[in-house]
């Protein structure tokens, strides 16, 4: 209860400060429009934001410099989060500066308009792509290689149970976590990417066909998709995987899962492609092409497709995130990507019990969170880029 009281008192103080802040602003700036027309809620918001920042700075200083190590352990992840935030921001900023200086005039212009979040996204996607493509070269060990030392603590500090040979430690049966994380980029990201590509190929072509031809084909496809979309994606995937698992195992099940996810996702792509296609089909230039006597393939490939690339590209990013997260969830539930492939979702599942050591040995609990944040980081990055793309395309219309 005292915690609640503290929060209430803090809020009351912030509320009073907000009032004082606005009043002082009005007096000091001689009623400048900014303070004069400031609603109270805004003043309160400023003070609340300030309080949060002060609390974060104070906690950081306390954890880094003031508290003894045993107590500071409690703030280990807080400090890591602050460091990560600073490192990522600086990296994104440096990357943007670099992008503005190097490359063609087009890319330089792109980087000039880019917000920091988007340049962060592009950077992360590039890093993941390199890791995924060159996993075999970059990973110090194989993904299935089992070593004698199991349960080595991440951090590489022998005093805490680490081993410099395994900078991120090993898992419960002695596989190198760093290598498995790097191979995970290849497997998890690669499989999600392939799945999304299949979904786009199937859903996209059927969607455009339905939009151009209309008639019974459109009716049939649209109604089918309506029904398939009435079952939530993850649920449907689990159902179909159950069925598939009665026939295939291991590698076969992974392939089956890819096909199942592609099928489910292609319904979403179909909807979008059809909607985008319909918007374009009603344009007069399509009518002009039809009246000229052009055939279907010319109309779809030369008139519709070039105008649909921008929305489709943004959608590809979003669909990729969705597929990637769903596959990770399936793996986490134990029915997604199957061993022996190293995969992030599976890694989280296998190592999740380590989290309970966080209070006294924070490094031990880092392993499952590393795999989970590897998933989150990529989706955040893609979402940042897509958000910027959507913002740009909506801005251009105005």
């Amino acid at each position: 209860m005292s915690g609640l009281m503290t929060i209430l008192i803090a809020l009351a103080v912030i509320a009073a400060l907000g009032y004082a802040f606005r009043l002082a602003g009005q007096k000091l700036t001689n009623n400048a429009p900014m303070f004069r027309d400031m609603p109270y809620a805004v003043a309160f918001g400023y003070m609340l934001g300030l309080a949060v920042i002060l609390w974060a700075v104070w906690t950081y200083i306390k954890a880094q410099f003031l508290l003894p190590e045993a107590e500071a352990n409690k703030y280990f992840y807080f400090v890591v989060a602050i460091h990560a935030f600073i490192i990522f921001s600086v990296a994104a900023w440096v990357f943007r500066v670099f992008g503005r200086a190097v490359g063609t005039a087009g890319t330089r212009k792109l980087f000039r308009q880019m917000p920091l979040t988007a340049s962060f996204g592009v950077l992360v996607i590039l890093v993941y792509a390199i890791l995924a493509i060159f996993a075999g070269v970059l990973a110090p060990h194989g993904q299935e290689e089992v070593f004698a030392q199991a349960n080595v603590v991440p951090g590489g500090n022998p005093a805490l149970g680490g081993d410099p040979a395994f900078p991120l430690g090993t898992d419960q049966i002695g596989r190198d976590i760093l290598s498995r994380l790097i191979y995970g980029a290849q497997n998890t990201v690669g499989i999600a990417f392939v799945t999304t590509l299949i979904a786009f190929f199937v859903g996209g072509s059927l969607g455009f066909l339905a939009a151009t031809l209309r008639g019974w084909l459109d009716q049939f496809l649209s109604r089918t998709v309506d029904v398939l979309m009435a079952i939530p994606a993850l649920i449907f995937a689990l159902l179909l995987i159950t069925v598939a698992s009665a026939w295939v195992t291991g590698w076969g099940l992974t392939v089956a899962m890819v096909l199942i996810m592609a099928l489910i996702d292609s319904t979403r792509v179909f909807r979008l492609a059809r909607a985008v296609g319909m918007n374009i089909v009603v344009m007069d230039y399509i009518e002009a092409a039809k009246l000229r006597g052009e055939n279907l393939s010319y109309i779809v490939f030369r008139e519709i497709l070039p105008n649909a690339t921008a929305p489709l590209l943004a959608e590809f990013g979003l669909r990729f995130c969705f597929v990637f997260l769903t596959i990770s969830s399936l793996s986490f539930l134990g029915v997604g990507i199957q061993p022996p492939l190293a995969d992030w979702g599976t890694m989280v599942k296998d190592m999740s019990s380590f989290i309970n050591y966080a209070a006294f040995a924070p490094q031990v609990s880092a392993a499952p969170l590393l795999a989970a944040s590897a998933i989150a980081l990529l989706t955040v990055a893609v979402n940042f880029v897509v958000d910027w793309m959507l913002h740009r395309s909506s801005g251009l219309k105005e």
Binding site: V42, I231, L234, I235, L239, V335, N383
Partner: protein
Amino acid sequence: MNSVLKIIAQRLALGLLTLFIVSIVIFAAVNLLPGDFAQAILGQGATPEAVEAIRTDLGLDQHPVKRYMQWLGGALQGDLGNSFAQANFASFVGDDSGVRTSVAQQIAPRFANTMFLAGVTAAIAVPFAVTLGILAALYRNSVFDRATNILTLSSISSPEFFLAYVLILFLAVLNPWLPSLSNIYDGMAFSERLEKTLLPALTLTLVVTAHMMRMTRAAIINLLASPYIEMARLKGINPMRVIVRHALPNALAPIINVIALNLAYLITGVVVVEVVFVYPGIGQLFVDSVKIRDIPVVQACCLIFAAAYILLNLTADILSIVSNPRLRHPK
């Protein structure tokens, strides 16, 4: 008013039809594949008796259409059949007396638990998300808006289990405020039950709030750009009244839509979160059944999830029809 009723009746009929077809899809997905299903489920090592027991239990000797009618008829009366795991177990023991628990009995208490979890989530998430969404729309492009944009994007991008473990890390392990396992049983005091449900509910809240907030924001911004809002401002109406009297009545439909869509989204989230927190809900049962290929349970859970999903979408549809003045007051 008549035309509204007609449209609603149409939507209801359409919803029922969709549910019917979905049930066919669920049934067909499991039943129309080639091969001996009973054998495939039990593997090569199964005794012929066990295979035979499953086969009779499924009625595999009967025509699929007849089986479907029986299954659907049963489902409508609340009889979802018997679980394979139980049938399998019984056949091994040699005691097929029919006293084993049915799927319905297995699901009922878990269904209540899941509804409780969803209810707690909705109670936290809906007011929180709508308020944040409206604030972000009102102060768009401000620091607040940009910060919430980044936060919600990150939250949407994180898999549910990541958020769950982060919350466990901070709220259960590092600061032992809440229990990290949700072992709920019958006859538990409400407050204790709530305490145990809070962490899974908070995880779901994070995911759902982010979606809901972004959609609310988009809907409100879209609305604020409309000429009648500009007109209200040009009439010298004070900002609060512009929001309450001019924006809100028109925002109702989109906001209701957003809420219903996100509650539907909860269904997917529930599965993973229940597994992480070992919450005895329908999602956990579903995943367990998937792993042991307990087809009747999988079918039943699937049907329930799909029905809830269709129902929520239908509700959104109908509420937005009702709140549309053009339909409420026909020409």
